[in-house]
Symmetry: C2
């Protein structure tokens, strides 16, 4: 066992606060990692505040982890101390079901082990995430990071926001000659724009906020459509090969379905707390369109995504924060007041509290 | 011009009644067909009664047509007088858009011409359907029927109910080793059961009516699940490759979505008048499931379906009626009191009214 230090929520209404706990000593297949950066995902907030009614307290969130290997087990072959690595939303799965055999651990028939809020395979124990100084993860769930040192904080969000958008874009074979819509310009959407553009597609960003137009173009969108403007929307009717919808707030799906061409798909990656208005079946039937879902990505595909992003110079647009400012960051995230991801600099945990780093 | 005789609705509230009108003389690419049988589709009733608010009166319904060729134009090469042929839901399309080029005339970018209720390509004129003694159709929209003479009445429903179920089963590559669900045992559902079974899939029929169990097994289902029974449903969770949902009445889609395995698709072929309850996005995300739509099928695929059905001895289960009993048939159809399709014997039109043939 090693002593770990992090930040935990101890109840739905308690602000995150310093928390000490134990990590297992690295086993033969384990990699021990000092955490350098951890992105702040909306799921962290949902879990800290028990908004999905499944939180086990104390809860240490964080699943967009970049760190440096400090030790490896005897059977570990892919990593050695000093390597820069990533850990995403999963730290284990059954490794023997059909989805696991296919590299789709996120759909493990026996349930993958979340990086936080478990339950761990076999024991059912709670797991503690990346808002902490170190973590121990089995080799199969550790990713190689080949970005340069200067980019590492901005790499962290790739481990969740990056793979969540990359996976459906790949599954639906987005590439040159395709017209792709990205709905919403937040943590997920801004990654979707960058990745879809790098895949060679023509990218149209849909937003309700006209003031995001300039930023979307800077991020790589070829065109921006204000989805509240019916004329702008109508001009794109029946023209999209694929739409990636990153908006979790309930909204009118039909407005986007009618923009798909024959056999077009809209993939949803956000699950709304209350349902979207029911989509019109007629819009699905008339052009054989599809609504699909997608959940993060498998480990093999996550590595592919990291390599793709390194090759194309893609990182997240981030705002670094100190860990003691996490609650302020949450409040700003709730107001969508972040471009486009907060990332905790874990040095702030190792070197203790300091003056607030994040303007409220 | 030739004088045609049929049955038409002249207003939403007028019973169908004898009606005379003109058909064009066959042009160089046309096939003239004496109609032998015409199936009765729910769309006929929707149109006769203007339930889709788009009916042009007078309206002669009918798009499940089997007949005998009486004359062909000079440029017609595939048919000759005496041939037994079929005509389905379409009699024309633009023939120059991308979907038409791909044999997907039902998704014609310029709108296909319905066999009834038009509008005709170019002229925008109304079209008159199969509740009539003869029809003139361009060669590209005429299908070859290779079933035996004794089966011809029961072949008619293949032209709509058959292709509507065959097309999505083919699109999603249903075959041996697949577990396929068919939701609803009506005109569409009973064709879906027969075709999916002939494709080699394991077929599970979902119905709200326990008394349909025996009939579903007779039609080829390997198993019947009463969808109102939560225990029966739960036993199939996450196990289906594909579900074909033929039920147009609003119902809980989630009950079926959770039965799909990873990457499973549920295709809807019925458009409800009021929306289904909104499906839960979580069920789509967690196993990368999909909801899709599908509309009849293209001409090439309709021919493939007819040939497939002839090869496998598949026809519709029908109840033949005389044309003067069409309103009684509609009323029984509204009560789902038909196994499983009414088909009009067009001799009843040629030989005038007689005693009622259909028990009310």
């Amino acid at each position: 066992m090693t002593q770990a230090h992090g930040y935990a929520a101890t109840s739905p209404t308690t602000p995150l606060a310093p928390f000490s706990f134990e990590r297992r000593a690295p086993g033969p297949q384990d990699v021990a990692i000092d955490i350098l950066h951890c992105g702040v995902c909306h799921s962290d907030l949902h879990t800290a505040r028990n908004e999905w009614q499944n939180t086990v307290y104390p809860s240490v969130p964080g699943h967009e982890i970049v760190g440096r290997v400090t030790a490896v087990g005897d059977l570990v072959s892919k990593f050695r101390p000093g390597d820069i690595v990533g850990v995403g939303c999963m730290v284990d799965s059954c490794q023997h079901c059909a989805p696991c055999d296919d590299g789709l651990e996120q759909y493990c028939d026996n349930g993958f082990t979340g990086t936080y809020n478990g339950p761990a395979q076999g024991t059912g124990a709670n797991t503690f995430g990346g808002y902490s100084d170190h973590i121990v993860v089995r080799e199969q769930f550790v990713l190689r990071v080949s970005h340069g040192e200067a980019d590492l904080a901005a790499v962290a969000p790739l481990l969740c926001a990056g793979i969540t958008t990359y996976s459906p874009l790949r599954q639906w074979k987005v590439g040159p000659g395709h017209k792709v819509g990205i709905v919403g310009l937040g943590g997920l959407g801004h990654m979707g724009v960058k990745i879809a553009a790098a895949m060679g597609a023509r990218v149209v960003l849909f937003t309700t906020s006209p003031d995001k137009r300039e930023d979307a173009l800077r991020l790589g969108a070829h065109e921006v459509v204000v989805s509240k403007n019916p004329d702008e929307m109508a001009a794109h009717a029946g023209s999209f090969d694929f739409i990636l919808n990153t908006v979790a707030a309930p909204h009118d799906l039909d407005a986007f379905l009618v923009l798909l061409k024959l056999d077009g798909t809209m993939t949803l990656v956000g699950a709304p707390a209350s349902p979207h208005p029911s989509p019109t079946v007629f819009n699905l039937i008339m052009k054989r369109r599809r609504i699909a879902g997608s959940l993060i990505g498998g480990i093999r595909e996550t590595q592919e995504m990291l390599d793709f992003c390194a090759e194309h110079g893609i990182v997240s647009d981030i705002e670094p924060i100190r860990i003691e400012d996490i609650e302020t960051a949450y409040e700003r995230m709730l107001r969508s007041d972040v471009k486009y991801r907060f990332v905790i600099d874990m040095d702030s945990l190792r070197h203790g509290a300091a003056a607030s780093s994040v303007p409220a």
